[in-house]
């Protein structure tokens, strides 16, 4: 299995919305390659007949009574926001100029 190279790390970081500079990319690419090589070991024993486990203790259809419970007030919900306006979260512009 191919290790992670610098350009792949840059692509993944962009997907994960983390800006990395050249210095970060050099360091992380080396470390992540070593980690990926080590964890690829799982493929040695993961044969087709083994079912996957997504959750340690399976439960299904977890319901609660359909009743209205108190929730955060608008003020509480906005209290930790970096910016708010008119009782709403204020966000930077979504679309660029071009």
């Amino acid at each position: 299995m191919a290790s992670l190279d610098r350009s792949e790390v840059a692509r993944l970081a962009a997907l994960a919305r983390i800006d990395l500079d050249d210095c970060d990319l050099d360091r992380l690419a080396g470390q992540l390659s070593a980690i990926v090589d080590a964890v690829a070991k799982v493929q040695e024993v993961a044969t087709p007949e083994i079912p996957a486990t997504s959750h340690p203790i399976l439960m299904s259809n977890v319901f609660r009574p359909d009743v209205v419970l108190p929730s955060l007030t608008q003020g509480d919900a906005l209290a930790g926001a970096p910016a708010a306006e008119d009782g709403r979260f204020r966000v930077p512009q979504i679309l660029g100029e071009d």
């Binding site: 299995m1 992670l4 792949e8 790390v9 993944l12 970081a13 962009a14 997907l15 994960a16 919305r17 983390i18 800006d19 990395l20 970060d24 360091r27 992380l28 470390q31 992540l32 070593a34 980690i35 990926v36 080590a38 964890v39 690829a40 070991k41 799982v42 493929q43 040695e44 024993v45 993961a46 044969t47 083994i50 079912p51 996957a52 486990t53 997504s54 959750h55 340690p56 203790i57 439960m59 977890v62 609660r64 955060l72 509480d76 919900a77 209290a79 930790g80 926001a81 970096p82 910016a83 979260f89 966000v91 930077p92 512009q93 979504i94 679309l95 660029g96």
Partner: protein, 503 residues
């Protein structure tokens, strides 16, 4: 009374009941101790003297008035900073949440308040619980009270160090791959990761949702049991919370201490011994196994061959889940925003670059890779199959024994800085603790002595089948009883005094 900080929670409860001391005195003593030694230890990210004393005063008033009180009322406690606390700063050790004041309490915090324990403060941790040393905290590392140049374990190093430094008798931790048990082992304290779902995770800042579990930490098995009973139980606000009643934990601890382990079958895990384990760790472990036999247990060796793949599976599953869980730190609803006037995509990239530390970035990128199209089956899918194999190993082992034991971690506390630049070496610290999280089963670490070569604490891990958390306490209390008799006191009493305390 003499040094209140050195008393167990049970001894404090008894002293409150007999009128020898008060909750206010115990809380003030804890705050004084923190003032003296936490400059060196740095177990706390935030101390709430006012809130803790207010709770203590109310408990003392009610006791005076003869009102009924819950069993641990008035005993000071520390809470890992991964649990949200209404009105108290909560950061999960990350700069991205610096200054955030949650608008609600985690269910576990609500339970502590209902049980009327003064919450002394929030403890330091590796950022978002990613790490085994607290060196990945965005606010500087915690130091091990046994040797200030060494790590206290992680991610819950703050909670474990607060106990070992006699700052508090009780603490809350969280364990995703060993973050309660490994810090307990390297600080000579006790910590339990309950069965997955046994303790509510509502209001616990998520790392890897299929692995995370909150649990109790203390200096003795009995104190840990008392706290376990306060926090365990079904919570309708957590869809993974186990329905039904929790096992009787305190009674199990009492039974273990009084009756020993006659008839109990214990398995030693072959794959978690020998190669890769420090000599003094193996030495103390073998001695402890003899102690278990001396209190009546039958000990056999069992094999769990898939454990050799547990670490690899864990470092695919955890980053995958973490990369998704940490997407919420997007500069919109809470936490940091680095705004350069550009589009939100630019702002998110700059915010997450500035707010996350290196280990968090590594794991998010690794998880993004493992989940990406073309790699999903090879990595995440394969890791989930290994998870099945680990569960089968445990099922087979528990078919022939009641509990399993191993050393909690391969070495004693290493030096600060020693492994910080080598993530893979750091990950190996959790080799013995990770299988329990993958399978959802409960585990305990308790101190079994000091390694002869460096004089640092060694821990023994006990593992039990899912929902049989009570077995950890029965076996743990029996072993602890034998060892405490041998040492004439708990292991933490052998810890060197901290400089601050001498002054």
């Amino acid at each position: 009374m003499r040094d209140l900080n050195r008393l167990t929670a049970q001894a404090l409860v008894d002293a409150f009941a007999s009128g020898k001391t008060t909750s206010v005195k115990a809380t003030e003593a804890a705050l004084d101790r923190i003032g003296h030694v936490d400059g060196e230890v740095h177990a706390f990210l935030h101390v709430d003297a006012e809130g803790a004393l207010k709770t203590a005063e109310a408990v003392d008033r009610d006791r005076e008035a003869g009102k009924p009180l819950p069993p641990l009322a008035g005993v000071p406690i520390a809470v890992k900073d991964v649990l949200v606390t209404k009105g108290l700063p909560t950061t999960a050790g990350s700069r991205i949440l610096e200054g955030w004041i949650p608008p609600y309490d985690a269910t576990v915090v609500e339970r502590l308040k209902a049980a009327r324990l003064p919450i002394i403060g929030k403890t330091n941790m590796d950022e978002f619980a990613m790490g085994s040393s607290t060196e990945h905290s965005g606010y500087g590392p915690t130091r091990n009270p046994w040797d200030l140049e060494r790590i206290p374990g992680g991610s819950g190093g703050g909670s474990a160090a607060a106990l070992a430094a006699f700052e508090v008798p009780l603490a809350i931790g969280s364990d995703t791959g060993g973050s309660i048990r490994q810090p307990a082992a390297v600080t000579g304290t006790v910590g339990v990761k309950p069965t997955y779902g046994a303790v509510s995770r509502y209001g616990v800042i998520a790392l890897a949702s299929s692995l995370d579990q909150v649990g109790p930490c203390a200096r003795t098995v009995h104190d840990t049991a008392l706290l376990h009973e306060v926090i365990a139980g079904h919570d309708p606000r957590d869809a993974t919370s186990l329905p039904g009643s929790a096992p009787k934990i305190v009674a199990a601890a009492t039974r273990g201490r009084e009756d020993g382990l006659e008839g109990t079958k214990i398995g030693v895990i072959k794959e978690l011994m020998g190669k890769g384990f420090q000599r003094g760790v193996s030495h103390r472990f073998e001695e402890a196994v003899h102690q278990l036999k001396s209190v009546g247990a039958t000990v056999t060796e069992v094999s769990c061959p898939s454990f050799d793949y547990a670490l690899a599976a864990y470092y695919l599953i955890l980053p995958s889940e973490a990369s998704s869980n940490l997407a919420k730190y997007d500069s919109v609803r809470f936490g940091l925003r680095v705004d350069d006037g550009g589009t939100i995509e630019r702002v998110m990239g700059a915010t997450r670059a500035a707010g996350f530390g290196d280990e968090v970035k590594r794991r998010i990128i690794l998880g993004t890779y493992a989940l990406s199209a073309g790699y999903y089956d090879a990595y995440y899918g394969s890791a989930q199959k290994v998870r099945t194999l680990i569960q089968r190993d445990f099922a087979e082992a528990f078919g022939s024994v009641d509990v399993l034991v191993s050393p909690t971690c391969p070495t004693t506390a290493f030096r600060l800085g020693e492994q910080i630049d080598d993530p893979l070496t750091m990950y190996l610290n959790d080799i013995a603790t990770i299988p329990a999280n993958l399978a959802g089963i409960p585990g305990m670490s308790l101190p079994i002595g000091l390694a002869p070569e460096d004089g640092l604490p060694v821990g023994l891990q006990i593992l039990a089948p899912a929902k049989a958390d009570d077995r950890l306490y029965r076996v743990g209390a029996a072993l602890e009883g034998a060892l405490v008799d041998l040492w004439s006191g708990t292991l933490t009493t052998q810890a060197p005094p901290l400089e601050g305390a001498k002054a």
